[in-house]
Protein backbone atom coordinates (compact mmCIF):
# COMPACT_ATOMS: atom_id res chain seq x y z
CA UNK A 1 0.00 0.00 0.00
CA UNK A 2 1.13 3.55 -0.71
CA UNK A 3 2.27 5.75 2.14
CA UNK A 4 -0.30 8.46 2.88
CA UNK A 5 -0.22 11.87 1.24
CA UNK A 6 -0.67 15.01 3.36
CA UNK A 7 -4.13 16.22 4.34
CA UNK A 8 -4.93 19.81 3.50
CA UNK A 9 -6.87 22.46 5.34
CA UNK A 10 -6.48 26.23 5.45
CA UNK A 11 -3.75 25.95 8.11
CA UNK A 12 -1.76 23.14 6.51
CA UNK A 13 -2.07 23.87 2.78
CA UNK A 14 0.76 26.44 2.47
CA UNK A 15 3.05 24.12 4.47
CA UNK A 16 2.44 21.09 2.27
CA UNK A 17 2.49 23.06 -0.99
CA UNK A 18 5.92 24.46 -0.03
CA UNK A 19 7.05 20.92 0.75
CA UNK A 20 6.21 19.95 -2.85
CA UNK A 21 8.93 22.44 -3.80
CA UNK A 22 11.33 20.97 -1.19
CA UNK A 23 10.97 23.84 1.24
CA UNK A 24 10.16 23.55 4.95
CA UNK A 25 8.05 26.50 6.08
CA UNK A 26 7.22 27.40 9.65
CA UNK A 27 5.27 30.32 10.99
CA UNK A 28 6.67 33.27 12.89
CA UNK A 29 4.73 35.92 14.79
CA UNK A 30 5.23 39.38 13.33
CA UNK A 31 4.47 40.99 16.72
CA UNK A 32 6.49 38.98 19.28
CA UNK A 33 8.75 37.49 16.60
CA UNK A 34 8.58 33.95 18.03
CA UNK A 35 8.47 31.12 15.50
CA UNK A 36 5.94 28.34 16.10
CA UNK A 37 4.70 24.99 14.81
CA UNK A 38 2.18 23.69 13.82
CA UNK A 39 1.03 26.68 11.76
CA UNK A 40 -2.20 28.33 12.85
CA UNK A 41 -4.24 31.49 12.40
CA UNK A 42 -2.80 33.35 15.37
CA UNK A 43 0.36 33.34 17.47
CA UNK A 44 -0.07 30.93 20.40
CA UNK A 45 2.22 33.09 22.55
CA UNK A 46 0.74 36.59 22.14
CA UNK A 47 -2.45 36.03 20.07
CA UNK A 48 -1.35 38.43 17.37
CA UNK A 49 -3.03 37.56 14.08
CA UNK A 50 -0.07 39.00 12.15
CA UNK A 51 1.96 35.95 11.26
CA UNK A 52 4.49 35.23 8.54
CA UNK A 53 5.79 32.09 6.87
CA UNK A 54 9.57 31.71 7.14
CA UNK A 55 11.76 29.03 5.63
CA UNK A 56 13.60 26.77 8.05
CA UNK A 57 17.31 26.20 7.45
CA UNK A 58 16.52 22.51 7.88
CA UNK A 59 18.92 21.61 10.66
CA UNK A 60 17.98 20.32 14.07
CA UNK A 61 18.52 17.81 16.86
CA UNK A 62 16.54 14.78 17.93
CA UNK A 63 14.57 15.59 21.12
CA UNK A 64 13.17 12.07 21.35
CA UNK A 65 12.38 9.15 19.08
CA UNK A 66 10.97 5.64 18.89
CA UNK A 67 11.37 2.71 16.55
CA UNK A 68 7.88 1.64 15.49
CA UNK A 69 7.63 -2.14 15.19
CA UNK A 70 3.84 -2.38 15.24
CA UNK A 71 2.56 0.05 12.59
CA UNK A 72 -0.71 1.87 13.36
CA UNK A 73 -2.15 1.47 9.84
CA UNK A 74 -1.69 -0.90 6.90
CA UNK A 75 -0.01 1.83 4.78
CA UNK A 76 3.00 1.67 7.10
CA UNK A 77 3.14 -2.08 7.67
CA UNK A 78 5.40 -2.73 4.69
CA UNK A 79 7.99 -0.24 5.86
CA UNK A 80 9.56 -2.58 8.42
CA UNK A 81 10.76 -1.04 11.69
CA UNK A 82 10.98 2.74 11.20
CA UNK A 83 11.92 5.73 13.30
CA UNK A 84 9.47 8.43 14.37
CA UNK A 85 11.18 11.39 15.98
CA UNK A 86 10.52 14.79 17.46
CA UNK A 87 13.11 17.14 15.97
CA UNK A 88 13.94 20.52 17.48
CA UNK A 89 14.66 22.83 14.55
CA UNK A 90 17.53 25.29 14.86
CA UNK A 91 14.90 28.06 14.71
CA UNK A 92 13.25 26.65 17.86
CA UNK A 93 9.99 24.89 16.98
CA UNK A 94 9.61 21.13 17.31
CA UNK A 95 8.35 19.02 14.40
CA UNK A 96 7.55 15.34 13.95
CA UNK A 97 9.21 13.39 11.16
CA UNK A 98 10.78 10.06 10.33
CA UNK A 99 14.53 9.65 10.56
CA UNK A 100 15.49 8.11 7.21
CA UNK A 101 18.65 7.18 5.37
CA UNK A 102 21.88 5.56 6.53
CA UNK A 103 21.95 4.51 10.19
CA UNK A 104 18.40 5.69 10.83
CA UNK A 105 17.67 2.78 13.19
CA UNK A 106 20.69 3.79 15.30
CA UNK A 107 19.22 7.27 15.96
CA UNK A 108 19.79 8.66 19.45
CA UNK A 109 18.53 11.57 21.52
CA UNK A 110 20.66 14.62 20.77
CA UNK A 111 21.72 13.49 17.29
CA UNK A 112 22.12 16.33 14.83
CA UNK A 113 19.91 15.89 11.78
CA UNK A 114 19.36 17.59 8.45
CA UNK A 115 16.29 18.00 6.30
CA UNK A 116 15.49 15.89 3.27
CA UNK A 117 12.26 15.19 1.42
CA UNK A 118 10.48 11.92 0.75
CA UNK A 119 8.26 11.57 -2.29
CA UNK A 120 4.72 10.32 -1.72
CA UNK A 121 2.18 9.96 -4.55
CA UNK A 122 0.82 12.69 -6.84
CA UNK A 123 3.89 14.92 -6.51
CA UNK A 124 3.53 15.35 -2.77
CA UNK A 125 6.68 15.35 -0.63
CA UNK A 126 6.99 15.16 3.13
CA UNK A 127 9.83 16.73 5.11
CA UNK A 128 12.05 14.06 6.67
CA UNK A 129 15.42 14.10 8.44
CA UNK A 130 18.71 12.24 8.06
CA UNK A 131 21.41 11.95 10.67
CA UNK A 132 24.24 14.40 9.96
CA UNK A 133 27.81 13.14 9.75
CA UNK A 134 29.33 14.30 13.06
Amino acid sequence: MNLPVPALNADSKPFWEAARASRLLIKQCDACMRPFFPPRHLCPFCWSDKTLWIESRGTGTIYSYTVIHRAPAPEFSGRGPYVVALVDLAEGPRVMANIVGAGALEAAVGDRVKLCFEERGEGWKVPQFERSAS
Binding site: S12, F37, S64, T66, P72, E75, M96
Partner: protein, 391 residues
Protein backbone atom coordinates in the same frame (compact mmCIF):
# COMPACT_ATOMS: atom_id res chain seq x y z
CA UNK B 1 -13.88 32.89 49.79
CA UNK B 2 -12.93 30.48 47.04
CA UNK B 3 -15.76 28.14 46.12
CA UNK B 4 -14.83 24.60 47.00
CA UNK B 5 -16.36 21.22 46.29
CA UNK B 6 -14.69 19.68 49.34
CA UNK B 7 -17.03 17.51 51.44
CA UNK B 8 -20.11 18.53 49.46
CA UNK B 9 -20.77 15.28 47.63
CA UNK B 10 -20.19 11.55 47.95
CA UNK B 11 -20.23 8.41 45.86
CA UNK B 12 -22.94 6.05 47.13
CA UNK B 13 -22.79 3.20 44.62
CA UNK B 14 -20.33 1.60 42.20
CA UNK B 15 -20.66 -0.99 39.46
CA UNK B 16 -18.40 -2.75 36.98
CA UNK B 17 -19.67 -4.66 33.97
CA UNK B 18 -18.41 -8.08 32.99
CA UNK B 19 -14.87 -7.54 31.70
CA UNK B 20 -12.66 -9.06 29.03
CA UNK B 21 -14.35 -10.46 25.95
CA UNK B 22 -18.10 -10.02 26.36
CA UNK B 23 -19.48 -10.51 22.85
CA UNK B 24 -23.11 -10.87 23.96
CA UNK B 25 -23.24 -7.24 25.11
CA UNK B 26 -22.94 -4.06 23.04
CA UNK B 27 -21.05 -1.07 24.44
CA UNK B 28 -24.37 0.42 25.52
CA UNK B 29 -25.34 -2.94 27.01
CA UNK B 30 -22.11 -3.10 29.02
CA UNK B 31 -22.73 0.43 30.27
CA UNK B 32 -26.29 -0.46 31.23
CA UNK B 33 -25.05 -3.53 33.12
CA UNK B 34 -22.57 -1.40 35.09
CA UNK B 35 -25.23 1.25 35.76
CA UNK B 36 -27.68 -1.34 37.10
CA UNK B 37 -24.99 -2.76 39.38
CA UNK B 38 -24.15 0.73 40.67
CA UNK B 39 -27.83 1.46 41.31
CA UNK B 40 -28.27 -1.84 43.14
CA UNK B 41 -25.08 -1.16 45.13
CA UNK B 42 -26.54 2.19 46.23
CA UNK B 43 -29.93 0.64 47.00
CA UNK B 44 -31.60 3.35 44.94
CA UNK B 45 -34.53 3.26 42.51
CA UNK B 46 -34.27 4.27 38.85
CA UNK B 47 -36.58 7.21 39.67
CA UNK B 48 -33.95 8.63 42.04
CA UNK B 49 -31.56 9.38 39.16
CA UNK B 50 -32.02 12.93 37.86
CA UNK B 51 -28.66 13.41 36.15
CA UNK B 52 -26.50 11.42 33.75
CA UNK B 53 -22.95 12.06 32.62
CA UNK B 54 -20.95 9.94 30.21
CA UNK B 55 -17.95 10.04 27.90
CA UNK B 56 -17.61 8.84 24.30
CA UNK B 57 -17.30 5.60 22.35
CA UNK B 58 -15.07 4.74 19.40
CA UNK B 59 -16.82 1.42 18.83
CA UNK B 60 -20.32 2.96 18.88
CA UNK B 61 -19.65 6.58 17.92
CA UNK B 62 -23.06 8.11 18.66
CA UNK B 63 -23.04 11.86 18.21
CA UNK B 64 -25.02 12.51 21.43
CA UNK B 65 -23.96 9.60 23.60
CA UNK B 66 -25.40 11.06 26.82
CA UNK B 67 -28.85 11.39 25.32
CA UNK B 68 -28.54 8.01 23.63
CA UNK B 69 -27.79 6.41 27.00
CA UNK B 70 -30.75 8.18 28.63
CA UNK B 71 -32.97 6.71 25.94
CA UNK B 72 -31.40 3.23 26.26
CA UNK B 73 -31.84 3.30 30.04
CA UNK B 74 -35.31 4.84 29.97
CA UNK B 75 -34.17 7.92 31.90
CA UNK B 76 -35.53 11.48 31.54
CA UNK B 77 -33.07 13.45 33.66
CA UNK B 78 -32.91 17.23 34.11
CA UNK B 79 -29.11 17.21 33.77
CA UNK B 80 -27.20 15.31 31.07
CA UNK B 81 -24.15 15.59 28.87
CA UNK B 82 -21.35 13.63 27.29
CA UNK B 83 -17.79 14.90 27.57
CA UNK B 84 -14.70 14.02 25.58
CA UNK B 85 -11.33 14.46 27.27
CA UNK B 86 -9.92 11.03 26.45
CA UNK B 87 -8.81 9.03 29.45
CA UNK B 88 -9.18 12.07 31.72
CA UNK B 89 -12.94 12.08 31.20
CA UNK B 90 -14.18 9.98 34.18
CA UNK B 91 -12.43 12.06 36.86
CA UNK B 92 -13.59 15.25 35.15
CA UNK B 93 -17.14 13.84 35.10
CA UNK B 94 -16.96 13.24 38.85
CA UNK B 95 -16.01 16.91 39.29
CA UNK B 96 -18.82 18.03 37.00
CA UNK B 97 -21.34 15.82 38.82
CA UNK B 98 -20.26 17.29 42.15
CA UNK B 99 -20.47 20.85 40.80
CA UNK B 100 -23.95 20.22 39.37
CA UNK B 101 -25.17 18.81 42.68
CA UNK B 102 -23.61 21.70 44.64
CA UNK B 103 -25.34 24.14 42.26
CA UNK B 104 -28.71 22.41 42.55
CA UNK B 105 -28.83 21.31 38.92
CA UNK B 106 -29.25 17.67 39.94
CA UNK B 107 -29.53 15.70 43.16
CA UNK B 108 -28.38 12.25 42.12
CA UNK B 109 -26.08 11.79 39.12
CA UNK B 110 -25.28 8.53 37.37
CA UNK B 111 -21.76 8.72 35.88
CA UNK B 112 -21.14 5.86 33.45
CA UNK B 113 -18.78 4.87 30.64
CA UNK B 114 -18.33 1.74 28.58
CA UNK B 115 -17.05 0.35 25.31
CA UNK B 116 -16.76 -3.06 23.68
CA UNK B 117 -13.23 -2.44 22.41
CA UNK B 118 -12.27 -6.12 22.43
CA UNK B 119 -15.17 -7.57 20.46
CA UNK B 120 -16.79 -4.46 18.94
CA UNK B 121 -13.89 -3.72 16.60
CA UNK B 122 -10.90 -5.62 15.24
CA UNK B 123 -7.53 -5.16 16.91
CA UNK B 124 -6.21 -3.46 13.77
CA UNK B 125 -9.15 -1.07 13.73
CA UNK B 126 -8.69 -0.34 17.44
CA UNK B 127 -5.03 0.52 16.87
CA UNK B 128 -5.62 2.64 13.76
CA UNK B 129 -8.67 4.49 15.09
CA UNK B 130 -6.77 5.43 18.23
CA UNK B 131 -3.80 6.63 16.21
CA UNK B 132 -6.17 8.72 14.12
CA UNK B 133 -7.84 10.09 17.25
CA UNK B 134 -4.67 11.05 19.13
CA UNK B 135 -2.27 11.89 16.27
CA UNK B 136 -2.38 15.29 14.59
CA UNK B 137 -4.37 14.75 11.36
CA UNK B 138 -2.47 17.38 9.36
CA UNK B 139 1.09 17.27 10.71
CA UNK B 140 1.66 13.87 12.36
CA UNK B 141 -0.40 11.39 10.37
CA UNK B 142 2.00 11.15 7.36
CA UNK B 143 4.74 9.81 9.65
CA UNK B 144 3.05 6.64 10.89
CA UNK B 145 3.26 7.31 14.59
CA UNK B 146 1.16 5.22 16.95
CA UNK B 147 -0.21 5.78 20.46
CA UNK B 148 2.48 3.49 21.92
CA UNK B 149 4.94 5.53 19.80
CA UNK B 150 3.92 8.73 21.59
CA UNK B 151 4.45 7.22 25.02
CA UNK B 152 7.63 5.51 23.84
CA UNK B 153 9.08 8.91 23.00
CA UNK B 154 8.24 10.05 26.53
CA UNK B 155 9.93 6.94 27.95
CA UNK B 156 12.99 7.50 25.73
CA UNK B 157 13.38 11.13 26.81
CA UNK B 158 12.85 10.08 30.44
CA UNK B 159 15.64 7.53 30.15
CA UNK B 160 17.87 10.19 28.59
CA UNK B 161 17.26 12.84 31.24
CA UNK B 162 16.90 10.72 34.37
CA UNK B 163 18.70 7.50 33.56
CA UNK B 164 15.73 5.30 34.36
CA UNK B 165 16.20 1.81 32.97
CA UNK B 166 14.36 -0.68 30.81
CA UNK B 167 14.19 -2.98 33.84
CA UNK B 168 12.65 -0.30 36.06
CA UNK B 169 9.90 0.19 33.47
CA UNK B 170 9.24 -3.55 33.55
CA UNK B 171 8.52 -3.49 37.29
CA UNK B 172 5.32 -1.55 36.59
CA UNK B 173 3.44 -4.25 34.62
CA UNK B 174 4.80 -6.99 36.90
CA UNK B 175 3.46 -5.61 40.20
CA UNK B 176 0.27 -4.46 38.49
CA UNK B 177 -0.35 -8.03 37.25
CA UNK B 178 0.14 -9.31 40.82
CA UNK B 179 -2.64 -6.97 41.92
CA UNK B 180 -4.91 -7.97 39.04
CA UNK B 181 -4.64 -11.61 40.06
CA UNK B 182 -6.36 -10.72 43.35
CA UNK B 183 -9.40 -9.16 41.62
CA UNK B 184 -12.13 -11.59 40.52
CA UNK B 185 -13.09 -9.48 37.49
CA UNK B 186 -9.63 -8.84 35.94
CA UNK B 187 -9.06 -9.39 32.22
CA UNK B 188 -5.48 -10.73 32.65
CA UNK B 189 -4.34 -12.65 35.71
CA UNK B 190 -1.46 -14.94 34.65
CA UNK B 191 1.71 -13.94 36.51
CA UNK B 192 4.48 -12.25 34.51
CA UNK B 193 8.13 -11.60 35.31
CA UNK B 194 10.59 -8.79 34.52
CA UNK B 195 12.12 -11.13 31.93
CA UNK B 196 8.71 -11.72 30.32
CA UNK B 197 8.20 -7.97 29.89
CA UNK B 198 11.66 -7.41 28.44
CA UNK B 199 11.28 -10.41 26.09
CA UNK B 200 7.75 -9.53 24.96
CA UNK B 201 7.16 -8.39 21.40
CA UNK B 202 8.58 -4.93 20.62
CA UNK B 203 5.81 -2.44 19.81
CA UNK B 204 7.52 0.97 19.82
CA UNK B 205 10.97 1.02 21.38
CA UNK B 206 11.59 1.06 24.30
CA UNK B 207 8.04 -0.23 24.96
CA UNK B 208 7.10 -3.86 24.46
CA UNK B 209 3.72 -5.57 24.38
CA UNK B 210 3.60 -6.06 28.16
CA UNK B 211 4.32 -2.34 28.71
CA UNK B 212 1.03 -1.57 26.94
CA UNK B 213 -2.50 -1.55 28.31
CA UNK B 214 -5.10 -4.13 27.36
CA UNK B 215 -7.91 -3.77 24.84
CA UNK B 216 -11.03 -4.94 26.68
CA UNK B 217 -14.78 -4.90 26.72
CA UNK B 218 -15.60 -3.03 29.91
CA UNK B 219 -17.90 -0.49 31.50
CA UNK B 220 -18.10 1.20 34.86
CA UNK B 221 -20.55 3.40 36.73
CA UNK B 222 -20.87 5.29 39.98
CA UNK B 223 -23.59 7.38 41.59
CA UNK B 224 -22.93 10.77 43.14
CA UNK B 225 -25.23 12.65 45.51
CA UNK B 226 -24.97 15.37 48.13
CA UNK B 227 -23.04 14.54 51.30
CA UNK B 228 -26.16 15.15 53.40
CA UNK B 229 -28.25 12.74 51.36
CA UNK B 230 -25.40 10.22 51.06
CA UNK B 231 -25.42 9.60 54.82
CA UNK B 232 -29.03 8.38 54.56
CA UNK B 233 -28.41 6.23 51.48
CA UNK B 234 -25.12 4.44 52.06
CA UNK B 235 -23.57 2.76 55.07
CA UNK B 236 -20.19 4.04 53.96
CA UNK B 237 -20.36 6.92 51.49
CA UNK B 238 -17.07 7.94 49.91
CA UNK B 239 -16.60 11.70 49.98
CA UNK B 240 -15.06 13.85 47.28
CA UNK B 241 -12.45 16.02 48.99
CA UNK B 242 -10.66 17.56 46.06
CA UNK B 243 -10.56 17.77 42.30
CA UNK B 244 -8.04 19.50 40.04
CA UNK B 245 -7.49 19.72 36.29
CA UNK B 246 -4.81 20.90 33.90
CA UNK B 247 -4.96 20.85 30.10
CA UNK B 248 -1.75 21.80 28.32
CA UNK B 249 -1.76 20.56 24.71
CA UNK B 250 -3.39 17.91 22.55
CA UNK B 251 -0.73 16.54 20.21
CA UNK B 252 2.68 15.36 21.35
CA UNK B 253 4.42 17.72 18.90
CA UNK B 254 3.03 20.59 21.02
CA UNK B 255 4.00 19.23 24.44
CA UNK B 256 6.54 21.70 25.85
CA UNK B 257 8.69 18.89 27.24
CA UNK B 258 8.33 15.14 27.55
CA UNK B 259 9.44 15.08 31.19
CA UNK B 260 6.93 17.47 32.75
CA UNK B 261 3.22 17.49 32.10
CA UNK B 262 0.09 19.05 33.59
CA UNK B 263 -0.15 16.14 36.04
CA UNK B 264 1.59 18.28 38.66
CA UNK B 265 -0.75 21.27 38.37
CA UNK B 266 -3.76 18.96 38.29
CA UNK B 267 -2.59 17.23 41.46
CA UNK B 268 -1.81 20.50 43.20
CA UNK B 269 -5.34 21.72 42.48
CA UNK B 270 -6.81 18.59 44.05
CA UNK B 271 -4.49 18.72 47.08
CA UNK B 272 -5.30 22.40 47.63
CA UNK B 273 -9.05 21.80 47.60
CA UNK B 274 -8.72 18.80 49.90
CA UNK B 275 -6.31 20.54 52.27
CA UNK B 276 -4.14 17.43 52.05
CA UNK B 277 -0.84 16.39 50.48
CA UNK B 278 0.76 13.28 49.07
CA UNK B 279 1.84 12.04 52.52
CA UNK B 280 -1.85 11.84 53.50
CA UNK B 281 -2.73 9.34 50.74
CA UNK B 282 -3.15 5.68 51.70
CA UNK B 283 -3.29 4.47 48.10
CA UNK B 284 -3.28 5.79 44.55
CA UNK B 285 -5.00 4.71 41.34
CA UNK B 286 -2.83 6.17 38.59
CA UNK B 287 -3.37 6.17 34.85
CA UNK B 288 -1.27 3.34 33.44
CA UNK B 289 -1.94 3.11 29.71
CA UNK B 290 1.82 2.43 29.35
CA UNK B 291 4.47 1.48 31.92
CA UNK B 292 6.18 4.89 31.82
CA UNK B 293 3.03 6.78 32.83
CA UNK B 294 2.56 5.83 36.51
CA UNK B 295 6.29 6.40 36.99
CA UNK B 296 6.10 10.03 35.97
CA UNK B 297 2.74 10.49 37.70
CA UNK B 298 4.25 9.34 41.01
CA UNK B 299 6.85 12.09 40.61
CA UNK B 300 4.53 14.87 39.48
CA UNK B 301 1.98 14.08 42.17
CA UNK B 302 4.68 14.42 44.83
CA UNK B 303 5.00 10.79 45.91
CA UNK B 304 8.72 10.78 45.04
CA UNK B 305 11.33 13.14 43.64
CA UNK B 306 11.71 13.81 39.91
CA UNK B 307 13.49 10.90 38.24
CA UNK B 308 12.81 8.50 41.13
CA UNK B 309 9.54 6.95 39.94
CA UNK B 310 11.37 4.03 38.35
CA UNK B 311 13.34 3.18 41.47
CA UNK B 312 10.12 3.63 43.52
CA UNK B 313 8.58 0.76 41.55
CA UNK B 314 11.78 -1.31 41.48
CA UNK B 315 12.03 -1.05 45.29
CA UNK B 316 8.53 -2.52 45.60
CA UNK B 317 6.95 0.60 47.12
CA UNK B 318 3.90 0.43 44.82
CA UNK B 319 2.76 -3.02 45.98
CA UNK B 320 -0.21 -3.71 48.24
CA UNK B 321 1.14 -3.62 51.79
CA UNK B 322 4.03 -1.35 50.84
CA UNK B 323 4.54 2.42 51.10
CA UNK B 324 1.91 3.47 48.55
CA UNK B 325 -0.19 0.73 46.94
CA UNK B 326 -0.78 1.75 43.32
CA UNK B 327 -3.44 0.34 40.98
CA UNK B 328 -4.65 -2.27 43.43
CA UNK B 329 -7.17 -3.68 40.92
CA UNK B 330 -4.55 -4.26 38.24
CA UNK B 331 -4.90 -1.01 36.35
CA UNK B 332 -5.26 -0.70 32.62
CA UNK B 333 -2.23 -2.92 32.15
CA UNK B 334 -4.00 -5.98 33.60
CA UNK B 335 -7.51 -5.29 34.95
CA UNK B 336 -9.13 -3.70 31.88
CA UNK B 337 -8.91 -0.87 29.41
CA UNK B 338 -11.72 0.32 27.17
CA UNK B 339 -11.51 4.01 26.33
CA UNK B 340 -12.73 6.23 29.13
CA UNK B 341 -13.49 3.16 31.21
CA UNK B 342 -9.81 2.63 32.06
CA UNK B 343 -9.79 5.64 34.35
CA UNK B 344 -13.34 4.94 35.49
CA UNK B 345 -12.28 1.56 36.91
CA UNK B 346 -9.54 3.32 38.90
CA UNK B 347 -12.17 5.51 40.56
CA UNK B 348 -14.34 2.47 41.27
CA UNK B 349 -11.39 0.62 42.83
CA UNK B 350 -10.53 3.61 45.02
CA UNK B 351 -14.12 3.64 46.32
CA UNK B 352 -14.09 -0.14 46.87
CA UNK B 353 -10.85 0.17 48.86
CA UNK B 354 -12.17 3.02 51.00
CA UNK B 355 -15.32 1.09 51.95
CA UNK B 356 -13.24 -1.99 52.67
CA UNK B 357 -14.71 -4.54 50.29
CA UNK B 358 -11.56 -5.63 48.45
CA UNK B 359 -10.94 -9.03 50.02
CA UNK B 360 -7.40 -10.31 49.67
CA UNK B 361 -6.25 -7.14 47.89
CA UNK B 362 -7.65 -4.86 50.59
CA UNK B 363 -5.22 -2.12 51.65
CA UNK B 364 -5.15 -1.89 55.43
CA UNK B 365 -6.33 1.34 57.04
CA UNK B 366 -7.35 2.82 53.68
CA UNK B 367 -8.99 6.14 54.51
CA UNK B 368 -7.81 8.48 51.76
CA UNK B 369 -7.15 7.77 48.09
CA UNK B 370 -5.90 9.71 45.08
CA UNK B 371 -7.00 8.93 41.52
CA UNK B 372 -5.33 10.45 38.48
CA UNK B 373 -6.82 10.23 34.98
CA UNK B 374 -5.14 11.55 31.84
CA UNK B 375 -6.20 11.78 28.23
CA UNK B 376 -4.49 12.25 24.89
CA UNK B 377 -0.74 12.18 25.44
CA UNK B 378 -0.79 13.41 29.04
CA UNK B 379 -2.69 16.29 27.45
CA UNK B 380 -5.76 16.51 29.67
CA UNK B 381 -5.26 15.74 33.34
CA UNK B 382 -7.68 15.38 36.25
CA UNK B 383 -6.89 14.35 39.82
CA UNK B 384 -9.47 13.51 42.47
CA UNK B 385 -9.04 12.85 46.18
CA UNK B 386 -11.56 10.62 47.92
CA UNK B 387 -11.98 9.69 51.59
CA UNK B 388 -14.16 7.56 53.84
CA UNK B 389 -14.98 10.59 56.02
CA UNK B 390 -15.42 14.31 55.34
CA UNK B 391 -12.28 16.28 56.28
Amino acid sequence: MEFSLRNRTAIVGIGESDIGKVPHLSGLGLTAQAAKRALDDAGLAVSDIDGLLTAYSLTEPFFMLGTVLCEYLGLKPRFCSSLVAGGATPAILLGHAAAAIAAGQASCVLVCTGENRATGMSRDTAVSSLAAAVGHPYFEYPYGNSIPGCYAMIARRYMHEYGITREQLAHVPVVTRQHAAMHPNSHMKAPITIEDVIASKPIASPLNLLDCCLISDAAGAFIVTSADRARHIADRPVYLLGVGECHTHEYIVCAETLVHFGVMESGQGAYRMAGLGPDDMDLAQLYDCFSIVPILELEELGFCAPGEGGSFYAAGHAAIGARLPVNTHGGMLSHAHAGATGGMLGIIEAVAQLIGECGERQVRDAHTALVHNEGGVLSSNCTVILADQPR
